[in-house]
């Protein structure tokens, strides 16, 4: 892997991504953001994610695809045809990592079986990312985001806090977008880079990642609590006090876990008489009287501007944050100072700001930017292209 010293972390790493799910595409996206050359193998009609909502008004372009495909290249390849197989073979020849989310029963016909790939490309890291994994009794089950968030245990626990208090009889609520699939995707990227690390010792190998497993992994504390003897439920999984509060102009998240933070909160509230009560110095007593404390906080919050509250709170050392809208995030001062976003040219010609990556490498900053790859923009040839540095 020849690369210059200031090159990005994964310069020289060549990834073939064959993905129709957000999990598979996000794995490739993380690797691309860190400088890997990621080529999407797309069917002739284009990857399904190109049509996945949310769609942008006017152009009808997928905002989701623009986010997930930024920094990748596109190659059309019909894996059910001999030509397509030829392209696949040639692309894998020069690749370090293959990310595939094809359903198990469809793999053999596409030349994507574990054994076939392992025999032909012994140095390749072959990552399978499926809703329920590629082995185990439910490996052939399929699932979309809403199914997977609930199969991994987190869905059942949502919402908690204020949303649950307001609407206790409603069905559980999912997290926005593709949270479960992003966990599966980041776990697939982790597994891919781990297996790649071991290539000098053991050569390539097959890695089986499951979105359900990943959701469970990030929800590990609920399983830990079950081991401690308590079953979590959205009605009871809440902080005894603190949480979401409505203020003037928006919502505030407030959470005090340490003694000094409680003292600072009392200060923030203007040292009201109720909070000075001797018994409330005991954290256990505060937990017991959480509802009462929250009533006081709620009343106080409702009289103040959200921006003032978070400003005062952070100055006093009370952990508090405004629930920011996407517009506030994308135009945020902090985000701008950190260059979290970079311009991407959309297929329709417009320019959008796209999140570069949720981590920074201070000794070799990531660039981001570029454009959303047009379908099949790459000529299907390419030992040369694969070793070019990524823009």
């Amino acid at each position: 892997m020849p690369a210059e010293e200031s090159s990005p972390p994964l310069a020289g790493c060549r990834v073939i991504e064959h993905a129709r799910t957000v999990a598979g595409a996000y794995a490739g996206r993380l690797l691309a953001a860190m400088g890997a050359a990621v080529v999407m193998l797309e069917p002739p009609q284009g990857c399904a994610l190109r049509r996945a909502p949310p769609l942008l008004d006017g152009s009808g372009e997928s905002a989701l695809f623009a986010y997930l495909a930024a920094g990748k290249r596109s190659l059309v390849c019909d894996l059910l045809s001999p030509e397509g197989q030829h392209v696949l073979e040639r692309e894998l020849e020069g690749a370090d990592i293959l990310i595939d989310d094809t359903a198990l029963r469809e793999r053999a016909a596409r030349g994507l079986g574990e054994e076939t790939i392992g025999e032909r490309f012994p140095g390749l890291v072959h990552v399978s990312v499926r809703p329920f994994g590629a082995s185990g009794p439910k490996a052939d089950w399929d699932g979309e985001e809403v199914n997977l968030l609930h199969a991994g245990g987190e869905g059942f626990l949502l919402p908690n806090g204020l949303s649950y208090e307001l609407f206790p009889d409603r069905p559980p609520l999912k997290i926005y977008g593709h949270f479960a699939e992003y966990q599966g995707g980041s776990m697939a990227a982790l597994a891919a880079l781990s297996a790649l690390w071991a290539v000098p010792e053991v050569g390539g190998q097959y890695v089986d990642v499951s979105v359900q497993d990943a959701v469970l992994a990030v929800g590990a504390f609920a399983l830990q609590r079950l081991g401690d003897g308590s079953l979590e439920h959205r009605s009871t999984r809440r902080f005894r006090y603190g949480g979401v509060f409505e203020a003037i102009g928006g919502f505030v998240e407030l959470l005090t876990l340490e003694e000094r933070q409680w003292a600072a909160l009392v200060e923030l509230l203007g040292r009201p008489a109720w909070a000075q009560e001797e018994t409330l110095r005991d954290p256990l007593e505060r937990s017991r009287r959480g509802d009462e404390i929250n009533r006081h906080i709620r009343e106080w919050m409702s009289r103040h501007e959200v921006d003032d509250i978070v400003h005062w709170a952070q100055r006093l050392g009370v952990p508090a944050a405004k629930y920011r809208t996407p517009a506030e995030v994308v135009h945020g001062e902090h985000e701008r100072a950190r260059a979290l976003f970079a311009p991407i040219a959309l297929a329709g010609g417009a320019e959008a700001q796209v999140l570069v990556a949720p981590f920074q490498f201070l000794s070799s900053p990531l660039k981001g930017g570029g454009r959303v790859p047009a379908l099949g923009e790459e000529a299907p040839l390419s030992a040369e292209r694969a070793t070019e540095p990524v823009a």
Partner: protein, 401 residues
Amino acid sequence: MNRAQAPLAGVRIADFTIHAAGPFGTQLLAQLGAECIKIESKTRPDAFRKPHAVYGRMSAATFDQVSVNKLSVRLNLKHPEAVALAKRLVSISDVAAESFRAGVMQRLGLGFDELCAVKPDIILLSLSSCGQRGPDSHFAGYAPLFGAWGGLGWMSGYSDGPPLEMRHVMDHAAGIHAAVATLAALHQHRRSGKAQHIDLAAREVASAMIGDALVQASLGLMPARPGNRHPSMAPHGVYPTRQPDRWLTLAVRSDAEWQALARELDRAAAARDARFVTARARLEHAVELDALLTQWLSTCDADLTAERLQRAGVCAHVSWSMCDIARDPHLRARGATTEVSAPDIPARLAVGAPARFSKTREVGIRRLTPSLGQDEDYVFGELLGLGGAERRDLERREVIL
């Protein structure tokens, strides 16, 4: 389980992380085979070593997921000699990881530059709520605040309700991303031999989970909070069944899947109903459709229905509690859940291997929660070469504490 047979065998991490997000990330690397040495002290015990009343836990945790596979040593970092020992530990490590508020490592004398002075090619992972740089970098926060700052909290929630409070999954999502970035830096190091400082802001991981909405917002659009609805799928959501608090999740992606759903639920008339024949029609009549499904499923067994629908090619799954997860043979077969026990810990389930590897198979839990300082013979004695008398002296002077 033999660490030599794991993919990250040979990688050593000096782990200064505390709470949930950072330790979860290093725990993943430890499950993948890295040797992870947790540096802690009696004076500033980590969250799992003390009661946590806000979470309803009244004593220290006996088993703590985020500390599995880790070695523990004590160093009282307020003492300059302890800082010097910490640096020696870093000098024989590949990675140092920390999750303090920005600036704390520098104040301790363990900032990136100081670490580079003792280990010129160190990889330092700094995980914090708001990052090492930027106007908010001094802000402290926890998972619910990451979600609030990052926009994920705003986008989640009932359409007519308040934003949603994110919990531990947000910490741990940051932890996975931290582990990914650390591995990328290791690859870079293998190639270049250079040092690297990773700056991960957990709130930006929350933003990464709404990357699509941020694209919309950058173009002046105002993405709406969709709740359980989906812009192109109907039916889509979480539905009550015959059993109380036993919900069925459904996502119908195509007309064929709609037909299959109607057939499996014996609703031939609905399958022909013009209001529901195409995806566009179903989206237009989503409210009526949800009401019908709620009615139909009210007599159905959730688990049997999920299995039947899966066989018919419809994405369905019961909303699982941790009891369901704990008794699931699929997760057990995959090693995603694994039984752990110790003399003081009755058998219980923990979250195991993050993935299944065909060659480097020994991925998973090898040791449970370390007692404070339990690995000092190995780390201080063998690795740093400190003699018994020297260590006793350091303990007496509360350098090791």
